[in-house]
């Protein structure tokens, strides 16, 4: 009897506890749903407004949300006067051909090398030769497709040649290393499974595709509308900044984390103190320095790259924190194994620091898209030197704001979509970076 009562009481307690739990979870879900709505609504509005035609439904601020006629007028305006789409189509075709031919060439190289004996000279000759042949063929192809004559533009040709050979060489090495017969003969040495191999191959194709597009960009530039120009300006700045800034930040953080030298503490303290000065304080001086170098207004793009990168060494904090967590004995071991500190950096630390490298690249790439202050100051009214932020800001904050508002929305959507996609894809690394940075302090 008492036993039964106990059980019943216990069950009731359990039930009430479950009910309590359910109530709590219900509340949480409600809060989260409300938050999600608040978080997403502005973006939904943004997208909706971008479809409201600036021709048919005049006015920036209207008192309704859903456009009366869905139209792509705003988007069309962004590309007006640009041959962007036909250019992109051609570029993709060129890129694909570049990718396909290069893949075949490199694969053939690998096969040839595997047949013969391993020797450095042979390898270089084969790869170099095939790349050269490939390049000439491709350039001719591109030129033919564009009706573009090479003459008069040797710099461009050299530039693209350099780009092509460099990237090709790196990728060929990667590819050969994996596919070498010698490695396969090692007992237990599993060459990647089919899936892995396919992934590598696709990645290589993609890289060559991009390469092809760049070659195309250099050899046959498109005509640009204002918006496209701003977009490409920003993209250029972002790409260069991503590469240079990452290199600088990683160099500094590696040096401060792993190497011990006189003045190390001094540098760290100096950066701490310098960081307390507000960034815009120095704006006029920077403007003047850039002007002396001819990097304002028309030269705004390289000027901004220079500004973003020059002082980026001061942002070493987060990646240094990451480097600090890599055991020092790895460095020591490698040094005893015969590596110089440079080789330790390149062969041991860099591969291990992949998350933070990606984080750094991501941050460096994203920042230029949002910068208004320096960008507007450096470009100083020279429209061709704007980045998207400056261009679009001027659209909404000028007198004609009512008229341009929906076009601003469309332009914003085109910026936000790829950036957001990139960010969400690499979210993991971002989280790793910020939490690491915050915890380290």
């Amino acid at each position: 009897m008492t036993n039964n009562a106990n059980v019943a009481a216990g069950q009731q307690k359990l039930r009430s506890k479950k009910g309590h739990e359910r109530r709590i979870n219900g509340t949480i879900y409600t809060v989260l749903v409300v938050m999600s709505i608040v978080w997403l609504v502005p973006f939904v509005f943004l997208v909706l407004q971008s479809f409201r035609s600036y021709k048919l439904e005049k006015g920036g601020m209207v008192d309704y949300l859903l456009p009366k006629h869905f139209s792509l007028d705003n988007y069309a305006f962004l590309f007006e006067g640009s041959n962007f789409f036909s250019w992109l189509g051609k570029a993709l075709i060129v890129g694909l051909i570049v990718a396909a031919v290069s893949a075949v060439l490199i694969h053939a190289c690998g096969k040839l090398l595997d047949k013969g004996e391993e020797s450095r000279g042979r390898r270089i000759a084969l790869i170099g030769g095939s790349l050269l042949v490939g390049f000439v063929a491709l350039t001719a192809l591109t030129a033919a497709m564009q009706g573009f004559v090479l003459a008069g533009s040797w710099v461009k040709v050299l530039l693209s040649l350099l780009l092509f050979v460099l990237a090709g060489w790196i990728m060929a090495r990667v590819y050969l290393k994996q596919d070498s017969k010698l490695l396969r003969s090692i007992p237990g040495y599993v060459v990647e499974d089919r899936h892995e191999g396919l992934k590598k191959f696709v990645a290589m194709l993609a890289e060559f595709l991009v390469l092809g597009i760049i070659v195309q960009f250099i050899l046959a530039p498109m005509t640009m509308s204002q918006y496209v120009r701003w977009y490409i300006n920003t993209l250029t700045i972002a790409l260069f900044t991503a590469v240079l800034q990452t290199a600088i930040v990683l160099s500094v953080s590696y040096a401060l984390s792993r190497l011990r030298f006189k003045g190390r503490k001094l540098i760290m303290n100096a950066v701490l103190v310098l960081g307390l000065f507000p960034g815009f304080l120095t704006m006029i001086t920077l403007y003047f320095l850039l002007k002396q170098l001819g990097l304002t207004q028309a030269g705004a793009v390289p000027g901004l790259i220079l500004i973003y990168c020059a002082s980026s060494g001061m942002g070493y904090y987060i990646s240094k924190g990451f480097f600090d967590t890599i055991p020092k004995s790895l460095d020591e071991s490698a040094r005893i194994d015969g590596a110089t500190r440079f080789q330790v950096f390149l062969k041991i630390i860099m591969p291990l620091a992949k998350p933070i490298v990606i984080y750094t690249i991501l941050m460096a790439f994203m920042a230029p898209w949002g910068d208004y202050v320096f960008a507007s100051y450096v470009a100083f009214g020279h429209q061709n030197g704007y980045n998207v932020a400056v261009g679009l800001y001027n659209w909404v904050n000028t007198n004609d704001f009512q008229n341009y508002f929906t076009r601003f929305c469309a332009g914003g959507v085109l910026v936000a979509v790829p950036i957001t996609a990139l960010f969400l894809a690499l979210q993991k690394y971002y989280v790793e970076g910020v939490t690491g940075g915050a915890v380290k302090g």
Binding site: L281, M283, G313, G370, V434, T435, K440
Partner: protein
């Protein structure tokens, strides 16, 4: 030694005890700071004196190669067959000499007056006189260059001294090839840091130094080179910014500073606690779709702020979506003055900043929550703690402890949070003296001073004041942290 009396105290007692200890120690700490500063400066002078003494002894004991290096840099290294170093030193000296003769000296000599010859119009032609801006900038640059030269000169002599010692002991000198190789190994830090340091030097240190000096000049719209000269005025600008009066900005400065601190406080702590709260909700056991919630919130980080904030600021405008819909539904009859009333504007900014800031804190808090050792909770549960107690006794102290330094950087960052204010309100509504608005932070005010008002001297002073405020906050907090630490040591 265990302080049993301390352990016996209750929580409030401990707090009072620690606070008392902190204030008791404060004078000592500050004094200690000054003593250390004094010692550091003394050390600098002592080092300098030693270096000079060293120069004399080296000269006395040096062979002819070393002695020649006092005059011609690098000659000693060249004579010893270290042509790489020698050439570099020699080149540096040559460049320096050419620079000084052709360029540097002229600017350096005018640094005291910042130029005396005004630009004049002679008939139709403009005859340019001195350019104060260039004189100041290149003067500073030249000063830096001179210091760098002296340092290099000293290094050059020291190299010779060491080389001489090595030769005397019969060992082999490092060849140029060795030097080059060591740049990839034992001297790798030089390779890594050369370019970044140069960048920071030219694009951060030089400009900051320059602007600090500008704060002591009358460089503004009335004194714009090249047509006008500007000159040194001492502490005049500081007086103008800090004192009250019709021509001064003292009242504005105090108001803007107050709002800056209020803003930074709310932006930091409101986001911190709300973000942590959201993270705890999302990470609670039994909540599904964790990743989806997180991704939705993270959108505000991903989308460039100039898109999201600009759009939202228009949403809150008098004729924006919010007001029009509220009026359509007859909830209000007048548009809410989100951006036109000072109080509303400040409130709206803090509110919208939550939208931007929470996700960031949510991510950080999530990372830290996962790092809290599970056995802490298990042992707490065995000891009979409920959810609230576990939060108060474990989660919160742990979070605060781990993110203490982050809070400081975040506070610093918010004081300089230009984007949010600029993209939302541009400092409006205006109405303060000195062309400042009610939502202006020091940094946005500085920006307007620079860009629209071209009042560079005041902008420079504001910049220095921001630095002072931040330095004070940082110093105080750094001094506080150790006293917090022994209470909440989780390591």
């Amino acid at each position: 030694m265990v302080d049993l009396d301390y352990l016996k105290m209750s929580k409030p007692q401990k707090f009072v005890h620690n606070l008392g200890r902190f204030f008791k120690a404060l004078p000592g700490r500050i004094g200690g700071g000054f003593v250390r500063l004094g010692r550091a400066i003394g050390g600098c002078f002592k080092g300098l004196a030693l270096a000079i003494a060293d120069l004399f002894t080296t000269f006395k004991n040096g062979d002819w190669k070393t002695r020649l290096s006092y005059l011609v840099m690098g000659s000693g290294s060249l004579a010893r067959g270290q042509w790489g170093r020698g050439l570099l030193f020699f080149l540096f000296q040559t460049v320096f000499n050419l620079y000084m003769v052709n360029f540097g000296m002229a600017y350096l000599s005018k640094l005291g007056t910042l130029g005396t010859v005004a630009t004049e119009k002679v008939g139709r032609k403009t005859v340019y006189g001195d350019n104060s801006f260039l004189i100041l900038l290149y003067g500073v640059l030249t000063l830096f260059f001179v210091v760098a030269f002296l340092y290099t000169w000293y290094a050059n002599i020291k190299q010779n001294k060491i080389s001489q010692q090595i030769e005397a002991s019969g060992r082999k000198l490092k060849s140029t090839k060795d030097d080059l190789q060591s740049l990839m190994d034992s001297q790798f830090h030089k390779t890594l840091l050369a370019l970044p340091t140069l960048g920071v030097f030219v694009f951060t240190i030089l400009p900051i130094f320059f602007m600090i000096l500008v704060a002591f000049t009358n460089f503004d719209y009335n004194h714009q080179p090249p047509s006008k000269l500007f000159t040194w005025v001492g502490f005049e600008n500081f007086k103008q910014l800090l004192s009250s009066g019709s021509a001064s900005y003292g009242d504005t400065f105090r108001q803007v500073l107050f709002w800056t601190l209020v803003w930074a406080f709310f932006a930091t702590f409101l986001n911190y606690f709300l973000g942590m709260f959201v993270a705890i909700m999302i990470n609670k056991k039994g909540i599904k779709l964790k990743k989806v919630w997180r991704t939705i919130l993270v959108m505000t980080i991903a989308i460039p702020q100039f898109v999201s904030l600009l759009y939202v600021s228009k949403m809150f405008a008098a004729d924006g979506l919010i007001n029009t819909y509220l009026m359509k539904w007859h909830w209000i009859s007048q548009p809410i003055p989100f951006w036109t009333d000072p109080g509303w504007a400040r409130f709206t900014i803090i509110l919208i900043n939550i939208w931007i800031g929470i996700p960031y804190l949510m991510l950080i808090a999530t990372g830290i929550l996962m790092n809290i050792p599970a056995d802490l909770y298990e042992s707490a549960r065995i000891d009979g703690a409920n959810a609230m107690q576990m939060y108060g006794k474990i989660t919160l102290p742990y979070m605060l402890f781990v993110t203490g330094p982050y809070l400081l950087t975040s506070f610093t960052g918010n004081i300089n949070n230009f984007n949010v204010i600029f993209l939302l309100s541009q400092g409006k509504p205006m109405g303060l003296a000195g062309n400042a608005g009610h939502t202006d932070l020091l940094i946005t005010w500085l920006y307007r001073m620079t860009v629209s008002d071209t009042n560079y001297k005041i902008a420079a002073v504001i910049g220095i004041m921001v630095f002072v405020v931040l330095a004070v906050i940082n110093l105080v907090v750094y001094n506080l942290i150790p006293s917090v630490k022994n209470e909440e040591d989780f390591q």
